[in-house]
Symmetry: C2
Subunit: 421 residues, 2 copies
């Protein structure tokens, strides 16, 4: 296929997604949930075909020499596929945010205004190697009444096609409007650009993947993009901190799952407690095999196994058992450091001083700010959202954990009896 043919095919899928979106608003919550359950059942029923498709992807992955970690992310087996289907069932069980009345009031002229939650319309999801994103993203977008255009990476193309087919077959048997869930079968880079420019048919685009992918979408997209960028997360240990609690929170934030965006990357320590606190912390970090990179004061007190941090360390998301440590001389310096070097994702203060905690949470410009708690709590599940499509580092529309409500827009309904201006 030439690029023009690919572009035409993608535009046609967009046009059909828009038409599907207008049908989707007519479904009740009960109808949507029945469709989700039928989708899950079909994933179970199609197990042999899906695993066969996955085997093709795995064969190609071995030939291409993908890393062990990448192959693991790609791999489906009966147990994992069962979990994929069960995740769709869990989405069916969640409350439906669509139709919720957000506010309602009556104007002096008698007009009754109701602000109501509605689907966004058509959502494009661009993702990389994990095939379960196909079903996760599609089920969350469908639950909120949106049509979805999915475009996965080449590594998982056979698995993605098989999973999308199961969603469509199962869903349509239970009344899913045609073209509600479409997988774009092209994996070249140009297809991302064609999607990103199609703002007449797509209301939102969500890139789920590495920085390179997100940057590409941001540079091209004509419609809103919700980004899930890096988390350069901090814990500030204030003079009055419970130091044992600080050690425990730093350890949990850094080591409980180092490869995720809400893991800790930098600790700030007030100079007045440096001499006492750093050695305690060093013992715990050493035991947990965390590499330490500090400023000169930190290195002095942490011990000889601590390395000197460079300027680059302060803005690095290690996603690994590495921690940068900086000594600061005032509360304001802590806030300034976080607002300058951080990624406005998740930052925590450990202090017994309530006023200081409140000032920290007020002045630090991040999606989630915590007091005496692990950074790992910036998470849709931990918030009680039931499901999340990601953690937004944007400030518009969705900030922080993005659940079902954030996959919705709103509209105003006005009821009158002949009012004019």
């Amino acid at each position: 296929m030439t690029d023009v043919h690919i572009q035409t095919a993608i535009l046609d899928m967009g046009r059909r997604a828009r038409a599907a979106a207008h049908e989707l608003v007519k479904l009740t919550s009960e109808q949507k949930n029945a469709i989700l359950l039928a989708m899950a059942d079909e994933i179970d029923a199609q197990q042999p075909a899906i695993l066969e498709a996955n085997a093709k992807d795995l064969e190609a992955a071995h030939e291409k020499g993908l890393t062990k970690a990448m192959i693991d992310r790609l791999t489906l087996d009966p147990k994992r596929l069962k979990a994929v289907a069960d995740a769709v069932r869990e989405v069916a069980a969640l409350p439906d945010p669509v139709g919720e009345v957000l506010s309602a009031w009556t104007r002096p002229n008698g007009l009754r205004i109701t602000k109501k939650r509605v689907p966004i319309g058509v959502i494009g999801i661009i993702f990389e190697s994990r095939p379960n994103v196909t079903t996760d993203a599609a089920s969350l977008c469908f639950k909120t009444g949106n049509a979805t255009l999915l475009r996965g990476g080449s590594e998982a193309i056979h698995s993605n096609v098989a999973l999308a087919a199961a969603l469509q077959t199962g869903g349509e048997r239970a009344g899913l409007p045609q073209d509600s869930v479409q997988l774009i079968p092209f994996t070249d880079r140009a297809s991302v650009e064609h999607m990103a420019r199609m703002d007449q048919f797509m209301d939102l685009i969500i890139p789920r993947g590495g920085k390179g992918l997100i940057e590409k979408v941001v540079a091209t997209a004509r419609m809103p993009v919700i980004k899930h960028y890096d988390g350069v997360c901090h814990i500030y240990v204030a003079p009055s901190a419970d130091q044992d609690m600080a050690v425990k929170l730093i350890l949990n934030s850094k080591t409980q799952k180092p490869g995720v965006c809400n893991a800790l990357e930098t600790v700030l320590v007030h100079e007045s407690i440096a001499k006492e606190f750093y050695p305690k912390l060093a013992t715990a970090l050493r035991e947990a095999k965390v590499e330490m990179r500090g400023d000169s004061t930190a290195v002095t007190y942490l011990g000889s196994d601590a390395k000197a941090a460079t300027e680059e360390d302060w803005s690095t998301e290690y996603l690994d058992l590495i921690l940068s440590l900086k000594t600061i001389s005032s509360f304001s310096d802590a806030v300034s450091h976080i607002n300058r070097y951080g990624s406005h994702h998740t930052d925590s203060i450990v202090t017994k001083d309530r006023a200081e905690a409140e000032r920290f949470m007020h002045e630090v410009d991040s999606a989630v700010v915590l007091h005496n708690a692990s950074t790992r709590f910036n998470d849709g599940g931990e918030f009680g959202f039931g499901a999340e499509i990601g953690i937004s580092t944007d400030k518009l529309h969705a900030r922080g954990p993005m659940g079902l409500a954030e996959l919705c827009s709103y509209k105003y309904l006005i009821d009158g009896d002949g009012q004019t201006r």
Copy 2:
């Protein structure tokens, strides 16, 4: 100045705006209101200098041969300037949405989560000829704790510089952090591009002007854009409509202020009432000097002064005393027509059938949907918002009238006592 110098200067303004934004969050509502009042007083005090600057713009406008309407939009006089200052005072008097608790809950592990309204950060406003946008946009953005980068058109550059200087001088006397309100003094097209790419320093860009300007910003911007596109607004007259009410609503929606986005452009009439309704409507439209463009049925009943509508008419925003009229054969056709040809802005149904009205408001995919009311009610003032920065045609973050709350983001504050995962 070369383009590189302009780009460097704009980047530097962005960097300073970001720093100002971090200072702005520290201001209380009382401090912000005092600053707004000082800004207004300074506009009054600087009246001679501002009018002198405006005279320079007007002189250039006459030389360039701008239209009478454009010159009128550009013109300031003592009365208009007083209104400009008073509009800033009105913003001071509005309630401050910043700090409002949007929701709060406690998790089973004891974490207390609070979702709080906060400023967005740095907002860029790009506008065309009206100089009062300088003070309107700056006062609304400042009220909500945002730093502002304003970039007006070349026609009003002297007036804009003088007004921005008054805001800064007055504001800073009352404690406005430096660089909170900056006017970009470049009016070339490249300066818009430099702003639109500066996503490290700007969180949102709002183009206020014609379609060409908005398109340019959409194509270039790396940060979110809130768009105020055309309004191709409809009224659907259903079989059970109170026909006198329908005539009254159509007349008001079309003629009360034809040049605005929430004015009516297309009337849809159910075929079962065409013969009875069109002649009544034609009489009223004729009297109001509204040009009629209809499909063949409409033309038959409207009379010989009605023209035949072309396909293009159905998606045209006339902004003038012209109305297109189409006969439709079912409720579904009305909804389909609106969702296809409309601009998802404002659409109204006239009917006595409540179930039909509810279905219309549910299925029509527009920011504001009305029942038995004029389309002119899609307006921040009419909603009771006190002020609006525009009417968004976007579905993300802000849809419909955009008031102070829509100039805010939110953050999550989490209070713990040592919780880990």
